[in-house]
Symmetry: C2
Subunit: 385 residues, 2 copies
C-alpha cells in the first residue's frame, strides 16, 4: 500500500544498517534524523529551510495539533502537508500524543478505555482512545501515524512497567483494527495510504522490553518504534536496552527510536540497528545559544566568541556557516534577536542531518568503525549527555 523498506546494507561488525524507506511522499534514506515540527512548524524554520538543511521526513505532534488548531481545520486545509507549506515535498510522521498526555497535560486519568486529560493550555477536557488517536491522524493526513501507548517515567516499578506494556499491547490491537477496518489504512483527508508503527515499551526492564517487542511484532506491518527511552536514564542504560533489543528487531522493517537527538546517543543507537530518530533537542538548545559542532557543543554567548569572525563550525555546509560569524550570531543571541535563533536552529539541524548522512555513507563504504572513532576523537571534548 505505498510503503516498503529495502535493507541496502547490513554492517558486518555491528547492528548498523543502511536502508531505504519508501513512502507515498518520497524515499527516506536511513539512518535518518527527523526534525520535529510539534505545532506544524519546525521551530524558527520556513518550509524551504526545512528542505535546505536536508530533511527527508519530519515529525509533527497529534496532541498539540488536536488542541490547536484542531484536526478539522487541518483537514479543511487539505491535510498537514498543505497546511504547513510542504505539499509534494517530504513525508510527515505524527506522534500519537501519548507521550505528551503523560508529560504535559494536567489531571490525566488512564483506564483501559483510554486517557482523559486536561489541556496544558486552557484546562479544557479531552479524551484520547486508541481509535480516536487514529481518527485524528487520519484527518491530519500524515504519512506515518503512531498508536496510543502508555509511557512510564524513568524509575517506574516493574509492576507499573508491566502494566503499561500490557495496556500498550491491548491498545495496539484496537488501533490496528480501527486503522485497517475503518480507515482502510488511508487518510480520510488526502485518501493517500498511511502506515502505522507499534511502539515498544517496558521501561528499563530488559525482559519487559523483549515481551513488549514480541507482543507487538504481529502488528509491525510497516515498521516498529521504541518508546519510553531518553527519559532521564544514563547513556549506558540506554545502550544496554538497545543491546537487548537489537538482535530481536525485524530486519525487514524500519526501526524508529523515539525522542533521541544528541549526537552521541544517535551514533550509539545507529550502532545498535536503529534507522529513524526524532528529537526537539537541536531547536530547543538553539534558544539558549547552544551549538553542536564537530569539536563538541559550544555556548555562543560566551565572551570568548565576542570577536571570533570564523563560522560556527568550519566543517559545516549550512546557510549559517556559509554566511555568518560567531561574533555576529553571539551578538544576535545577546540581543534576543530572532535571526540568532533561526541561524543556530538551521545549523544544529544540519549538524544532525549531516551526521546521519555520514553514518550512512560510512556503513555503505564499510568504514563505520573508523568513522565513529574519528567522530568521538573530535567531539569528545564536551561530552554532555
Amino acid at each position: 500500500m505505498g510503503f516498503s523498506f529495502n535493507l541496502v546494507k547490513q554492517d558486518k561488525k555491528s547492528y548498523a544498517r543502511a536502508g531505504e524507506f519508501i513512502t507515498p511522499n518520497g524515499v527516506v534514506k536511513t539512518p535518518v534524523f527527523m526534525p520535529v515540527g510539534t505545532q506544524a512548524t519546525v521551530k524558527a524554520l520556513s518550509p524551504n529551510e526545512i528542505l535546505d538543511v536536508g530533511s527527508q521526513i519530519i515529525l509533527a505532534n497529534t496532541y498539540h495539533l488536536h488542541l490547536r488548531p484542531g484536526a478539522d481545520i487541518i483537514a479543511k486545509a487539505g491535510g498537514l502537508h498543505k497546511f504547513m507549506g510542504l505539499a509534494d515535498t517530504i513525508p510527515i510522521l505524527t506522534d500519537s500524543g501519548g507521550f505528551q498526555v503523560f508529560s504535559l497535560s494536567k489531571l490525566r486519568k488512564i483506564t483501559d478505555e483510554g486517557v482523559e486529560f486536561q489541556s496544558h493550555i486552557d484546562g479544557s477536557k479531552h479524551f484520547f482512545s486508541p481509535e480516536r488517536v487514529v481518527d485524528i491522524q487520519s484527518k491530519l493526513g500524515s504519512d506515518i501515524l503512531m498508536p496510543l501507548d502508555e509511557c512510564t517515567a524513568y524509575g517506574a516499578s516493574y509492576e507499573e512497567a508491566l502494566s503499561a506494556v500490557n495496556r500498550t499491547t491491548a491498545w495496539i490491537a484496537r488501533s490496528v483494527k480501527h486503522f485497517e477496518g475503518v480507515h482502510k489504512q488511508k487518510s480520510a483527508t488526502t485518501k493517500k495510504p498511511q502506515a502505522l508503527f507499534p511502539i515498544v515499551q517496558g521501561n528499563m526492564y530488559h525482559d519487559l522490553r523483549i515481551k513488549s517487542l514480541n507482543d507487538l511484532l504481529p502488528y509491525a506491518r510497516y515498521g516498529i518504534a521504541i518508546g519510553g527511552l531518553s527519559v532521564g536514564e544514563p547513556l549506558d542504560t540506554l545502550q544496554q536496552v538497545l543491546d537487548t533489543l537489537a538482535p530481536n528487531l525485524p530486519s525487514d522493517k524500519p526501526r524508529y527510536l523515539m525522542g533521541i537527538g544528541s549526537p552521541e546517543k544517535l551514533v550509539e543507537s545507529v550502532l545498535r540497528g536503529i534507522d529513524m530518530f526524532d528529537c526537539v533537542l537541536p531547536t530547543r538548545i538553539a534558544r539558549n545559544g547552544a551549538v553542536f559542532t564537530t569539536r563538541g557543543r559550544i555556548t555562543i554567548k560566551n565572551a570568548q566568541y565576542k570577536a571570533d569572525f570564523t563560522s560556527l563550525d568550519k566543517e559545516c555546509d549550512c546557510y549559517a556557516c556559509a554566511n555568518f560569524t560567531k561574533a555576529y550570531i553571539r551578538h544576535l543571541m545577546n540581543t534576543d534577536e530572532i535571526l540568532g535563533h533561526r541561524l543556530i536552529s538551521i545549523h544544529n539541524l544540519r549538524f544532525l542531518l549531516r551526521l546521519t548522512e555520514q553514518l550512512r555513507q560510512a556503513i555503505l563504504g564499510d568504514k563505520l568503525q573508523a568513522f565513529v572513532k574519528s567522530f568521538y576523537k573530535k567531539y569528545q571534548k564536551s561530552l554532555k549527555m
Copy 2:
C-alpha cells in the same frame, strides 16, 4: 565623493517627486521606505529576505550598536555591511542615537557639550558628543550617517523647542567640522565615502521648523532629514508641518522624514515632497499579528480567519502570500511560533516597499492623484493612525 541625487520627475499637482539617490553601495530609487535593523538585523529577517522584499537601503542604530556589541567589534568585522551579511548589496543609513537617548536611556543629562546617559540595558554610563557620534558611525562604516540632534517631546513648550533647535544647529556645525576635517567624509573602517544629513527640529512650531531648516541648509551637502515628527501628534498636525516645510526644502537633495511608516502617513508625506522614510512599525506590529493589506489593517488572531485558506492579501507578491494561508499564519501566531512573526514581518515590509514603488510609478506616469484616490478607497475601512 560618491553620492549624488537626480531628480527624475517632479509631480505637477503636488510636491511629490521621483528621484535616484546614488551611493557607493548602489542606487536608491525614491520615494523609498527603509526597513529598520536596529541591532544590525531587520527583526526576524535574514539578509536574503531583506533583499527579497525589495529593500534598496536599510537603517541601523548607533545607540544600540554602541551598547552592543560596540563599534570596535563591528570595525573588526570589516564594518556593518560585512558584520550583518550585507556586504556588496545595499547601502545602510545609521541613526545618530539622539532619539534613542531621549526615549530609551535613563538619567540623561544634556549640556552644550553633549549628552550623558545610562544604558537602558545595564545602567552603564555613556557620553555622546557630536564628534563622538560621528566617530562611532565612521567606525560602523554605514553609508549615510546622522549627526547628534536634540529631539523634544510632543507638547514641548516653544522655549524648549527653540532651545533644541539652537542646540541642534550648534551641534551640526561641530558634527560637519569633525566629519569633514578629521574623517574626510570617509569611514575609518571601510575607507569608503560617507554622507551626512542634518536633522531639522522645531517640534510643531512652524516658524521654528523654518528657522531650523534655514540654519541647517548650509550643512545639507548630501541631503536633509526631518526629525521630531510622528511622536504622537495627529495626522493633520504632521501634514501642516510638512506643508510649511515643502516649498522650502532643497529640490536637488534627498529629503528624509524620520520614523514614519504607517501607509497613510507615508502617502501623505510623499505628496509633500518626502523621498525617504524609515519606521519600526511593520515589524513591531507583526509581533502582535497585525497585518497591512490593501483593504486595510487586519488582526490575524481574530477567529474569523480560523478556516480562511486565502493569502494575507490577494494583491501581494511576497513569500508569505505566495505560500501560506491566513488560517496557517493565525495558527502560528496563536501558538507563538517564530515562523508566524517572520511571515508577517516579510509581508508588512513588502507592503510598504511595494507602496513606495507604486507611488514612484504613479509619479513617473503622471497618475499620482488617481493612485492615491484608489489606494484610500480600498484602504479606508480601517484607518488607524
